[in-house]
Symmetry: C2
Subunit: 384 residues, 2 copies
Amino acid sequence: MISNFTFRLPTKALFGKGQIASIADEIPKTARILLTYGGGSIKKNGIFEQVQSALKDHFYIEFGGIEANPEYETLMKAVTLAREEKLDFILAVGGGSVLDGSKFIAAAVPFNGDPWDIPYKKVPISTALPVGCVMTLPATGSEMNHRAVVSRRATQDKLSLYSEWLRPQFAVLDPTTTYSLPAKQTANGVVDAFVHTLEQYATYPVNGKIQDSFAEGVLSTLLEDGPKLLEHPTDYDARANVMWAATQGLNDILSVGVPGDWSSHAIGHELTAVYGMDHAQTLAIIVPALFTHQLEAKREKLTQMALRVFHYQGDIHRAAEFAIEKIREFFEQMGLKTNFSALGIDDSQFPLVLKKLAEHRPPFIGERKDIDLAAVERILRMVL
Amino acid sequence: MISNFTFRLPTKALFGKGQIASIADEIPKTARILLTYGGGSIKKNGIFEQVQSALKDHFYIEFGGIEANPEYETLMKAVTLAREEKLDFILAVGGGSVLDGSKFIAAAVPFNGDPWDIPYKKVPISTALPVGCVMTLPATGSEMNHRAVVSRRATQDKLSLYSEWLRPQFAVLDPTTTYSLPAKQTANGVVDAFVHTLEQYATYPVNGKIQDSFAEGVLSTLLEDGPKLLEHPTDYDARANVMWAATQGLNDILSVGVPGDWSSHAIGHELTAVYGMDHAQTLAIIVPALFTHQLEAKREKLTQMALRVFHYQGDIHRAAEFAIEKIREFFEQMGLKTNFSALGIDDSQFPLVLKKLAEHRPPFIGERKDIDLAAVERILRMVL
């Protein structure tokens, strides 16, 4: 049975070529804008010029240098700047890390107290600066959702914050802005979106046919068009489909009323915090191992996936295993590794990974709350 | 190629058993509510008591008697009442007709001039009363969208209005409220939602993989669970899936960036206006005929539908025809007729149908704008 749920998507998605120009109408003319971005690639690929042109009648101050897995120390500099300059709107231009960092800034600026308490102690927020975004890397789904993930290297923490205040006002999704992405970032984005979808789909069946079929549509789209991007980075249709798939992958439409797993993300965040691994790379290693470990718990939905997504026609009792193998192959096809040794990582830091996981999460994770620390260690050792 | 688009779903869907109680928190305590409903079935099936209980601390005035294909003369009485009583919020409890009528009232109350100009002359509106709804018949998708259809029997008009002002603030979707629906209304709702999806899907391919796969999910869900409701009207899962499918069927998520047809609806509205036929019954007659007439124009998508929705495994050159036949069979399975003679209707009023269509629509309809009045007449005569 589908659980009760609430669903709304107030973020205005502005999809298609040339849509950056439309931000001029989406941000009040009186706004004092903090314009956030990452490592500066937007200044080389023409995106920044489009944003400048759109904002020619707006006031804005730039804040660049938000890193992948956005860092608390960096973000707090932007918080100070925004407070000093009385900025009241944040425009994030970049990928999920820039946007997630900007969401944290948006929550932190008006927050009374230590802003780290928001992700660390899950202190609820009662307001935030409005955020808009130009999303240049399809992956996190952050553009329409109410989540963000931030990191603090000093304490090896990578933590989430959630609030309806964090949903962007608008999200520009122009597929052509992703043409110049490095192949590795494209691949990471596809895998991240794919695993978001799995976290909401590969659990146990509750007969949510809309949720299931939409998830299968997102998975199939990423399977078909993700690999195309590695060969043809300027294929508009494939870029558009991957971009819209990533948005649907984590805007709640797949998750409403159905169970969620999120243990791959929970474990993966600790691997990123300890080893500095790319987020998607952590997922590519964890998912096939975790699904194999949880095979019986996930057998029904993995069988359904084998039939509907991978068009499996063999022995039904081997369908779930087939799905896991196809998932692993897909990650490898996208150029990611599916075991630790391929990355030169041994088990010496596993105790720290487990310690941090115990610090950040309840004792049991997974959609059935049946994965404890001993199980996580077994899962890690399956893919050494 | 997918066209540029804008997408947002600001309506808060409150889905599941018991959600009527939550309207207490969704409507301001200071609101002066116009509570609209239809023929009074909500007073027999326990829904009205739930609404009364939820509104025990709110002020409201009832306005019942909104009919199927809501009638201008009726709605204007509610407009007068709302103006006299200075009502400032509309809560619609019922199906798509009650909600569509309520959207018209919401637009008409603050409108300067003749409110019939809104649907008839497509005069844009610049405000409307806020609307919330308790949707008791899954069909129109009106609960999350910006459309409404209203009728004026005196002039045999059935016309649409569109505005972002018309999106409901919230929509309660409790599958158990649909348990007591007459089988005919259930069937009409399933067919209506199915055809909405076809109008957005069975056109020509633009490689919108998310849009296509989501549409296929809605179609498959209605095909699987629609017939179940005729046998098992209190099957919660089936009611829930049909309800959520109908919402997705017309909340823009299927239509963004892809072509739309809507000629079955255009023709069907005239059949309802002239003959008083149920909306869904008009669609069940028109769709198979129109698709057969437009076979070459729609062949690619109908072939795709045959393969993915009906799991067709025969000669690919006959797949489109197979899809049309399966669609027709589905309508019959749901208890609807697929030709005029089964309803005792001959061609004597066809000239009036065509005259009204010419009055209301541009000279060419359909996703390729290739259906003229002569084609419409041929389509009508195909299913005499």
